[in-house]
């Protein structure tokens, strides 16, 4: 098996006694794109929200089991036994709806992670991080002359790329993308998909999508979830052509979901 960057052990998540993720054991491969797919309510978003301790922010939310982050140095971080802020710096997240901070400029948005964490950056350092992050998401040329304008003036697709730049600026090990294109038009969606493909050399990507086509187009690995359980997980080529489980087959052929 290739290099593992994140591993869950018997991960169970619930809201107020209602179990939404059941006993999931999953290993995410470093520098690959893993898509989590499944019908609405199957627990896919909750699963990734457990990876960077976002789930516990919801009222009455509970997490059991383990999430281990394996760093490049092979150091293993038990995600639930360290400061959640540290975890979120190492495992960034981009949401369904682009959400640049409305009061911040494009420039400030990119380094928002540093600002909000109280990390002081030299001007030259900040400039470098902003330029590098915006270049990675192919937004630099479009915004370099208006870095001090508000991020909310950008188009939906640009805003989403800004949010990805904001996540990348923290130099995370993993970026979690929760349905990142569901609020975008097809052209902006194609751009984001292309971008995700390019990013995998520098960061591991986990993307939640209800769109089977998108999972097929961009992922290297696919996890299929159904009713809170991880039904099947493996290389996308295999899952999309000869899934082992009946439920996966039914989902891929549109019989459920």
């Amino acid at each position: 098996m290739s290099d593992i960057v994140l591993k869950t052990e018997n991960l169970t998540a619930s809201y107020d006694e209602h179990i939404v993720v059941k006993n999931v054991n999953l290993s995410i491969i470093r520098n690959k794109i893993t898509a989590i797919m499944g019908p609405s309510g199957c627990g896919k978003t909750t699963l990734i929200r457990c990876f960077n301790r976002m789930h516990e922010l919801s009222p009455k939310a509970k997490v059991e089991g383990k999430v281990l982050l394996i760093e490049n140095s092979n150091e293993i971080i038990d995600v639930y036994s360290v400061d959640p802020m540290l975890v979120r710096r190492k495992i960034g997240m981009v949401f369904q709806k682009p959400n640049p901070f409305p009061t911040m400029s494009i420039y400030e948005n990119v380094i928002a992670g540093y600002i909000l964490n109280g990390i002081k950056l030299k001007k030259s350092e900040a400039d470098e991080i902003v330029e590098e992050s915006l270049k990675k998401v192919s937004l630099w040329d479009e915004v370099k002359d208006r870095l001090r304008k508000k991020g909310t003036f950008l188009s939906g697709g640009q805003q989403q790329r800004l949010c990805i730049a904001r996540a990348l600026a923290m130099k995370p090990d993993i970026i979690l993308l929760d349905e990142p294109t569901s609020a975008l038009d097809p052209v902006a969606t194609a751009k984001i998909e292309e971008l995700i493909e390019q990013l995998k050399d520098t960061v591991t990507i986990v993307i939640v999508t209800h769109n089977v086509g998108q999972a097929g187009r961009i992922s290297d690995y696919v996890a299929f979830m159904y009713l809170g359980e991880l039904v099947e997980y493996g290389p996308t080529d295999v899952i999309f052509t000869r899934p082992s489980h009946e439920k996966t087959e039914e989902f891929l052929t549109g019989k459920i979901g």
């Binding site: 998909e193 493909e197 086509g213 097929g216 187009r217 961009i218 996308t236 080529d237 999309f240 052509t241």
Partner: protein
């Protein structure tokens, strides 16, 4: 993403075409030069390689369709590559048949001097080469010319058969050797048929027209 993968697939099928082409050339050269090692190379090394590649190309096609749901020319290309893949693997089997018969023949006196057979092989190889070139260049004109040349190879086969029959009637001790020569000519003729299929596939890819089963002759290919 998709086009990168599609280009890889195209490269792979072209590679397979080139390998198969070289197998026919080697099997005929092995017969003419009585080169046993070359004939064994076709059977023991090349043919298993084409089998492996066939499976790999099949998988690449299936994965592309499953993951990207291609349409229009992209879809036609992948489906036709799937068909070409099948035909090329069959051609490799036929090159193996030719090599097997050649191995039998080179150990024995020749029934007759090889005159028409090398010419037939040359024409067959040209057809195969042009069919693959027409795919590489997206050239329906070249593809159509391949389809039209099938008759030339058919005529060679008939001519060779007629001649061999006379040898067999006049001297029954030649029968076994003559049958091997006939097998080679029959395999070459089948290869030319499959090259024609590839030509038809290329026309379908580029123009979306079906010209199979003689439809191009009547100009129905619309």
């Amino acid at each position: 993403m998709f086009y990168e993968k599609l280009n890889k697939l195209k490269e792979k099928i072209i590679e397979q075409g080139n390998l198969v082409e070289s197998m026919i050339e080697k099997s005929i050269r092995g017969l003419i030069n009585k080169d046993k090692a070359l004939l064994l190379e076709v059977i023991q090394i090349d043919e298993p390689r084409t089998n492996e590649a066939e499976i790999e190309i099949d998988e690449m096609c299936i994965n592309l369709i499953a993951r990207f749901q291609p349409t229009a020319q992209d879809l036609r290309t992948i489906i036709m590559i799937l068909k070409m893949n099948n035909d090329l693997e069959r051609i490799a089997d036929m090159a193996e048949n030719i090599s097997e018969s050649a191995l039998f023949l080179i150990e024995r006196p020749m029934v007759k001097p090889l005159i028409d057979l090398p010419k037939m092989a040359e024409e067959t190889m040209r057809m195969l080469k042009d069919s693959i070139d027409s795919f590489i260049k997206n050239d329906p004109k070249l593809a159509k010319s391949v389809c039209e040349r099938d008759d030339v190879v058919d005529a060679y086969r008939d001519q060779i058969l007629r001649e061999l029959v006379t040898y067999m009637i006049s001297d029954p001790t030649t029968i076994e050797r003559a049958l091997h020569l006939e097998r080679i000519s029959r395999n070459l003729e089948r290869i030319a048929d499959l090259a024609t299929n590839i030509g038809e596939d290329v026309i379908y890819i580029v123009e979306g027209k079906v010209i199979k089963h003689g439809r191009y002759k009547e100009g129905e290919g619309a």
